[in-house]
Amino acid sequence: MLDLLLPSLLNGVLTGGVYVLLALGLTLIYGVLHIVNFAHGSLLMVAMFGAWLLATQAGIDPYYALPLMIAAMFAFGWLLYAGVIGRVSRGEDRSILLATLGVSIVLDNLALVLFTGDTRTIETPYSFDMVDLGVVSVPTAKLISFGFALALAAVLWAFMMLTDTGRAIRAVAREPDGARLVGIRPQRMFALAYGIGVACLGAAACLLLPSFYVSPGVGNVFVLLAFTIVVLGGMGSFAGAVVGGLLIGVTDSVGGLYLGESLGAICVPLVFIAVLLLKPTGLFGARA
């Protein structure tokens, strides 16, 4: 087992990179809207079908489709909030939660109507490219998504901290009434934040597709994990999402190695529960 520990750690870190991508959008949405976006998994599924359609119908490689999917998912998220979630929920927390749940039910089943329950995959020229890291060789695609996840986290952080729009979003997140007084329209900022959060999924989908699969249920494969990462890192914190994602990747991987891949899956919820009980604000969370 010991000889597998190092490769397993490394695998965990790299797989965690993909998880970071999914958690970034979720943590942004939580940080601004203070709600658990239940539709996150379903929106990832939508993005993956988008990337898959581009790959199979238009012959566009997922990596080239990346900017397109980011833009498309931003627009989709923005419209979804402005047209459905924000309107239906009138900004009430509990209603937003129910609204995102409703959206997720609709999207999952719409995908079932359109695409049936089939599992779909693509094979790309680089599907089997590997990089030898000494202790283990890893798929190139995984390294790329790892690097991209870190870069995206940095970009999001810079956007929120350094741009006027980012400051406006943060202002609304903290003091909606005060922000309104200085002329910021909260609902607009909420829609914008939701759009950006969903746009992250567009990137995640393109990076995930070459090494994963798509089906109407694919969102559920990741959604619990993304919640765990966001809470572990501290809801609303980008640094938290990165560290949390990598930690969960490692936990999942090493847990599977020592407890078996069946029982090992219990490590993620256990770590999650432990963090909540011992430090509920998460590693980087500012407030409960």
Partner: protein, 400 residues
């Protein structure tokens, strides 16, 4: 002289009515059959295919003149979505029996089948299982439940015999194996049976690796496999994990004599076409149409014309319905007692199946045997047993 109609006149009139062809008599009432499958939720993929198989069988039966012994009565499908929930499956049985269902086929997954067959037992309505391999479905003594297809234990016994024959013929290159299975009812059950039988065919089981559903990353498992250097990897998985495992095995360049799965969830034509590199030469022990049947090509095309990729679930759905309809044909009635009786003495036989005549004992067909299939150049071929094969097995697979 009597005034009223004579006895002879009445008899004559009766005979005339009997002799009158269908033109004058009203079309016989359609026979309703219930199809219960999970067509939404986590099991939607297989459920939809089983349903489509059943619907296609009904189309074929009706196009060929319906149930002839019942004056050409047509079959009428009642469709139900069990959503992957046994309680809803059971509720559908109640609903359909009140709508007049004379029998059922279903349910793709064993847990739903267990609940639904039990509900149908209250009415003694015949229930023909399509997919759903758990032995307990037919082994728990319900008189109304019939399965044309083999149990999980029968499949694994046959699979091991096939593996043994293929291996011996190639000079026994496979001496060790690792079983990888999903930790649910299907994978765990199959793995247990396989583990017990491998030794008997001279293959040493190095390890059994269960994994959760979903498993997002197979790197650890594959590294363990690579370190243990088995000749065979035997997966028993659902669709998604099957693809991920096979892909990671190729990525990590694990040197195997073969991948031999049993009822592998991901082994299908879509996989063969979308992942040509990974899929080539994988062997699965599973159901397929008999390629040597003269009707094989038209049968497959029948489904391809409906815009679906041919798959074993379709076969299950199709023949479960054929099996039920055949019993109604023999019984000459849709009466449940008679159909149940006809099913238990059924000798149903179709050369599209690799079975021979049916022999039912306690609801279970004793003559059901699956085949070894192999993906070769993007298509699926039967490679064992000889009498049904349309390609020669590639075993061990060529070195990369």
């Amino acid at each position: 002289m009597s005034v009223g109609p004579t006895r002879r006149m009445i008899v004559a009139a009766g005979a005339a009515t009997l002799a009158m062809p269908a033109i004058l008599r009203a079309q016989p009432a359609a026979v309703k059959v219930g199809l219960i499958h999970p067509v939404t939720g986590a099991l939607a993929y297989g459920g939809q295919l089983c349903r489509l198989g059943g619907q296609t069988a009904i189309e074929d039966i009706n196009a060929a003149g319906g149930i002839k012994s019942m004056g050409g009565a047509k079959l009428d499908a009642l469709l139900g979505d069990a959503q992957g929930r046994p309680d809803i499956g059971a509720s559908l049985v109640d609903q359909m029996s009140e709508q007049g269902a004379a029998g059922f086929t279903g349910c793709f997954a064993s847990p739903i089948a267990l609940a639904a067959t039990q509900a149908a037992a209250k009415y003694n309505l015949p229930f023909c299982i399509d997919s759903g391999l758990a032995d307990s479905i037919t082994a728990r003594g319900l008189k109304n439940v019939f399965r044309l297809f083999p149990t999980a234990s029968a499949i694994t016994t046959d699979a091991m015999a096939a593996l043994d024959a293929i291996n011996k013929k190639a000079g026994s290159p496979a001496k060790t194996a690792i079983i990888v299975h999903e930790d649910g009812e299907f994978g765990t059950g199959t793995a247990k049976l396989l583990g017990a039988k491998l030794e008997t065919i001279g293959i040493r089981l190095i390890e059994t690796i269960p994994h959760a559903t979903p498993t997002r990353d197979f790197s650890n498992i594959v590294l363990r496999i690579k370190a243990a250097k088995p000749d065979l990897v035997i997966p028993s998985d659902y669709n998604n994990e099957y693809v991920l495992l096979a892909r990671t095995l190729v990525q990590q360049k694990v040197d195997l004599a073969s991948i031999f799965s049993v009822a592998g969830g991901g082994f299908n034509l879509r996989f063969a076409k979308e992942q040509p590199t990974i899929a080539e030469n994988i062997i699965d022990f599973n159901h397929w149409y008999n390629p040597r049947s003269p009707r094989a090509a038209t049968f497959r095309k029948r489904f391809e014309d409906k815009g679906t990729v041919f798959s074993w679930e379709l076969l299950f759905g199709y023949f479960a319905m054929r099996f039920l309809a055949d019993a109604m044909e023999r019984a000459g009635s849709a009466d449940k007692e008679k159909v149940v009786e006809a099913l238990s003495t059924s000798t149903f036989n179709d050369d599209l199946l690799t079975y021979g005549p049916t022999k039912i004992v306690d609801g279970q067909n004793q003559n059901a045997h699956a085949t070894a299939l192999q993906i070769q150049q993007g298509d699926i071929h039967v490679v064992y047993p000889e009498q049904y094969s349309d390609a020669t097995v590639v075993f061990p697979r060529p070195k990369a």
